[in-house]
Symmetry: C2
Subunit: 338 residues, 2 copies
């Protein structure tokens, strides 16, 4: 492992052994549906509450992951996970039923990149042989917590994003074997707060954090967006994506045609009425597992960056008139070598 600026580069890159994506009804109607391992048409998943339903999404996701990797729980040294529910409860309740050491992380919608970055550092460094990294979100649980209960029928502003009902999980192991997607670098972000106080404009709030992390990464590693097949953000939506391009352009970085946003890939905004695009910790996680990792595995893409952005406020701090601090974590993923 070597550090250059904020980047940790793995000399012997950890491998992404397997992945799984589970989604709900809207995700099943979206353009990435075919990439999901499991889709539910009833977002309650047979549970009594939306909150329990989110844990059940995670449980299915973890079970599918273990099946696909042909790995049992005792072969996993550590699980890293988090979600948007207050006190990361979806994940905590999931791990009641998974007997494996568990460390909770919180980065809002940046959580997937955060767990992957940590998993990379921990496996490359030898603290764990195999790490399960998983995050999720549930539209109905998030609406109730962050905005208004669904029954209220609140109107959505055009800048508002649509919290994905989904979970994504990856199994990261010490050293990539031939044929495995490789986790080649990671960078933890710095908190940035552009003074946005509008909880329905997360994209605008988060774009500066994404710009900061990407700008530092390109500078530290002397590279540019053109060196990648895709620079994926998760999830800025249409508002944040446009702002990100402008912010980086101001720093002399041209994202050009390399930029994709997980929130804009998961849904068809026109026909699915998802406002400014998808969001939620489960959005980037499921797009990673349903779309990005398969494209790397099959060689359709050789090298990508995934930059997940998180808005770190709560409803309490917004009601108190505070602005929204944001962070963006990054991982670099590359196609398998023989």
């Amino acid at each position: 492992m070597t550090r250059v600026g904020d980047t940790v580069r793995f000399a012997c890159p950890p491998g992404v052994e397997a992945w799984a994506a589970v989604g709900g009804k809207k995700e099943a109607d979206g353009p990435l549906a075919a990439g999901f391992d499991l889709l539910f048409t009833d977002n309650r998943l047979g549970e009594e509450t939306w909150e329990q339903a989110e844990s059940t999404l995670q449980r299915h996701c973890a079970e599918l992951l273990l099946q696909k990797a042909d790995v049992t729980l005792p072969q996993i040294d550590l699980a890293l996970g988090g979600d948007l529910q207050s006190q990361c409860t979806a994940t905590a309740y999931t791990f009641r039923g998974l007997d494996v050491p568990f460390a909770g992380v919180y980065g809002a919608c940046s959580t997937m990149a955060e767990t992957l970055a940590l998993a990379g550092c921990l496996t490359a460094g030898g603290a764990a042989r195999r790490v399960l990294a998983m995050t999720s979100s549930h539209f109905c649980a998030a609406e109730r917590q962050f905005r208004t209960p669904l029954n209220y029928g609140g109107k959505r502003t055009p800048t508002a994003q649509w919290t994905a009902t989904g979970a994504g999980a990856c199994l990261v192991s010490g050293r990539a074997r031939p044929g495995q997607v490789r986790l080649t670098a990671a960078a933890f972000g710095r908190v940035r707060d552009p003074s946005v106080k509008d909880g329905t404009n997360m994209g605008g709030a988060m774009a500066p954090a994404a710009a900061e992390t990407l700008y530092r990464f390109f500078l530290d590693n002397r590279c540019a967006p053109a060196d990648y097949d895709g620079v994926y953000t998760g999830d800025l939506g249409i508002v944040g994506s446009e702002l990100l391009a402008r912010l980086l352009e101001g720093e002399g970085v041209d994202l050009a045609d390399r930029h994709r946003d997980c929130g804009l890939l998961l849904y068809d905004r026109e026909t699915q009425q998802t406002g400014a695009g998808g969001s939620g910790a489960g959005c980037a996680a499921s797009v990673l597992a349903a779309h990005i990792l398969p494209a790397l595995q099959t060689g359709k893409m050789r090298r990508v960056l995934l930059v997940c952005t998180g808005a770190l406020m709560s409803t309490t701090t917004l009601l108190q008139g505070e602005s929204i601090p944001c962070v963006a974590h990054l991982v670099e993923l590359t196609a398998p070598v023989d």
Copy 2:
């Protein structure tokens, strides 16, 4: 680094370069007051809200830590932190003002051991040269969020614990230098849920998680409580401490006179009316920095375990009739060698 069971043992142990503890009014009246670096008699700390006051506690704690270590922010590769406020907001707002890569973690009252365990693994593995690990809690912010607003004047049950107003922080660096306290091992816990649904009996809920982590640690490492000068839990209070002793006794492990609980050390339960004892992510963190680390530094103790326990529910899940999933993370700390 070697793994035995759930334990990561550091062949070249990271060092705890410096630490700092900041507390509020009740902490200033408690038996450990002299060990704190800074104590406030007004728990608002001049801020408009309790939530902001908690961030300000953290800011003072981080500033004191940097001063004591004679280190500047650019010399820190990563900060790990979390707190009890919904979405870990106290910490997120703190890091608006500290320009350093930041990864949020959530383990409720187990957060201090979780950040230290991660910091140990990351520095020992080479992913970071120096990691800042910090957690906090604030009585008034926690009461409002988890129980009832203070103004309501709710009666407390005898099993209820008192959330500490405090922050604790440590600076962990790659390889302990002579004279530095050493972080010699770490173990992440597994989620345990003994079906306690009473949000005012956290000690009872968390004791099985602490017992599980300790039992596995003693088994994996072929050691016993008698091998340590202190086995510190944070924070089981009187109810959980008694239960922990009974649970371990049932497994043939005699905690004997080695067990101390951070929640019982921070306050004088008789005169300070803190119910079953202190709790909160800031309790174990400040007791670690105000009491445990100084005793290791001066050689009063040679070797201790710190096992921080977290109750991973939320008010939503409790209102929905769910029980409380809990986790306990562990670090082993030893006195400096010359």
